[in-house]
């Protein structure tokens, strides 16, 4: 039954490593750029702590623009950008560029949403205590939103895993590319089934871990 699998094992491990690289870069980008961008949208929106109509409109339209393309299209459309940045559009790191762009836009929206759920009364209490916007943000808003931000990140990582499988289309490799090449094109059904099982287990683990982490910080 598992005739092909043993032969493909080294390549499977490599594919998993490539996927981890792509998802890792996407997740780091989401946190380092997506969260600040989401915070910017939260602060600058009408009625926000630092209203700024022009900035709010600009950031929102860029985020919406990126989010409006199906990922496969974005992947191809950003090839020139990737080539400009890295000198090549092939390989795992190159495939991570469009993935990171999508990740930043995706998580900025989710984090904005989590921040918006923070009770206005608590923010008002901090304002009445004489807090600056920075203090309100770091001592109240992020503290209250942390469980939601973590759940949002969990959802995002699952999506990034899914997106990363498309990266094979631009030579990014990874587990999706592996499953298509062997499981589909070569009819190696055992390889296909095993790969699917591995992806399922990874996604379950991410969801489980993220949920637990979120609950740990949730004292409501």
């Amino acid at each position: 039954m598992f005739t092909h699998l043993s032969e493909r094992l080294p390549e499977l491990v490599e594919a998993l490593w490539e996927t981890a690289t792509m998802v890792g870069i996407a997740t780091a980008s989401a946190l380092l750029l997506g969260l600040p961008l989401g915070t910017l949208m939260y602060l600058s929106r009408r009625g926000g702590l630092r209203e700024h109509a022009a900035l709010c409109a600009a950031v929102n339209s860029v985020v919406n623009l990126i989010r409006s393309f199906p990922f496969l299209i974005l992947l191809v459309a950003l090839i020139p950008v990737t080539r400009f940045l890295l000198g090549t559009s092939l390989g795992t790191v190159a495939a991570s560029v469009p993935l990171a762009v999508a990740a930043v836009a995706y998580y900025s929206r989710l984090s904005e949403q989590s921040l918006l759920e923070v009770d206005a009364g608590v923010i008002e209490a901090a304002t009445a205590l004489g807090a600056t916007v920075r203090e309100i943000l770091f001592k109240v808003v992020f503290v209250e939103a942390l469980p939601g931000l973590l759940l949002g990140l969990t959802i995002s990582i699952v999506s990034f895993i899914s997106y990363s499988t498309l990266a094979g289309a631009v030579g990014g490799g990874g587990i999706g590319d592996f499953a298509i090449r062997y499981g589909y094109y070569r009819f190696e059904t055992d390889v296909m089934v095993t790969t699917m099982a591995i992806i399922a287990v990874i996604v379950q683990a991410v969801q489980f871990g993220g949920g637990r982490l979120s609950r740990r910080f949730d004292k409501r």
Binding site: V122, A125, L129, G130, K219, R220
Partner: protein
Amino acid sequence: MIELQGVSKRFRTADGDVPAVSDVSLRIRPGEIFGIVGFSGAGKSTLLRMINLLERPDAGRVVVGGQELPALSPARLRQARQSIGMIFQHFNLVANRSVQDNVSLALEIAGVPKAQRRDVVQQSLQTVGLADKARHYPGQLSGGQKQRVAIARAIANRPKVLLCDEPTSALDPQTTGEILKYLRAINEASGVTIVIVTHELGVVNRLCHRVAVMEKGSVRDTIAFDESPRELSSVLGRAILEERRRDKDYRDVYAFV
């Protein structure tokens, strides 16, 4: 301590401008417990929120502790707010911060060094009888306990003024009595000026030295309980005095028993 002069505030709504507070003037003395009562929509919360500029008046003067608040720079206003405590109907505690960290928040914002914060937090919690709950989270407390944490947070910086926005409206009568007891004790011990907005006449009667009755954005009557009653123009004002008389009769009867 607090002086409002010709203060007005309008809110912009879909149906146009709605006046919330129109030309109100009040003078609240140091150490006094001053009530603001009125029916829903009378503008009493808006008036209270103008004392620490959570609402900025469209016109008029707001002077607290000798400072004209609307004229202050943002930094000076934040500093002024550190000596004006506030508690709310729905407590507004940070759910993901422990009880002690909620109280500590006030001190962090005021720039109190970490070494001193511990003691002040402990003292503030002792004042409201919750020293043993320091490590709990607000979600583990009852409504009355949450309001007491909010009081501890509000008094941590030893404010000169404590604003109370319907502090007992979400609580049952027994818990209400408890909160009022703490507020009175804090007023007597520290001399803090308390301004309390409520629609419960019982709260006014048991706590306040003076009370302003608001109707449609204006102060209709001001009643000082230590003076002989004057002619009152508001229904609510007369109801307050009536209830006070009944309360007193009741107490007199029971004094004999």
